[in-house]
Amino acid sequence: MEASTTTSASKTPADFLKSIRGKRVVVKLNSGVDYRGILACLDGYMNIAMEHTEEYVNGQLKNKYGDAFIRGNNVLYISLAK
């Protein structure tokens, strides 16, 4: 099954996931917690493995993890960090 009808300039979720590996990202969960770090890898459930992860609650740094696994069902969005 194709991800969507693709026009020449469109970027499907699969394209996006492929393009952000190894980049600095912000992962926002439904609870409002942000995780900032380097995206090591992810799968189709949006399960995410991150390195140098920082946990932000209400914009405040609360925790740091060397590596972290985030369960995909909690993910609201994945954003490229500026």
């Binding site: 991800a3 300039a9 469109s10 970027k11 499907t12 979720p13 996006f16 912000v26 949006m46 954003s79």
Partner: protein, 97 residues
């Protein structure tokens, strides 16, 4: 192509526009996305989507209304993959009203 054709979906109604076809018309256009929880919204340029309506947005803005104070916070995001799980509505145009 994942989308059924108009003919197979509704043989007697040539004017029918499938929901996914409407979203497909929005690719590379501005959209306004309203989430299920009722206090979170996004606008941005829709770059693509898949069968779960996971959406890639560029130059996205996240709007979050605090339920107690009614104050709205916005956050600019360059490029995001929005999980389709929590999407309620997609409005073509990207102008919030």
């Amino acid at each position: 192509m994942a989308l059924p054709t108009k003919q197979s979906a509704a043989p007697n109604n040539p004017s029918l526009l499938l929901p996914s076809e409407l979203v497909d018309k929005c690719v590379n256009e501005k959209v306004w996305i309203i989430m299920k929880n009722g206090h979170k919204e996004f606008t941005g340029t829709l770059k693509g989507f898949d069968v779960y309506v996971n959406c890639v947005l560029e130059d996205a803005i996240e709007y979050d209304r605090d339920q107690e104070s009614g104050k709205e916070t916005t956050k600019n995001l360059e490029s995001i993959l929005l999980n389709g799980n929590n999407i309620c509505m997609i409005v073509p145009g990207g102008e919030r009203s």
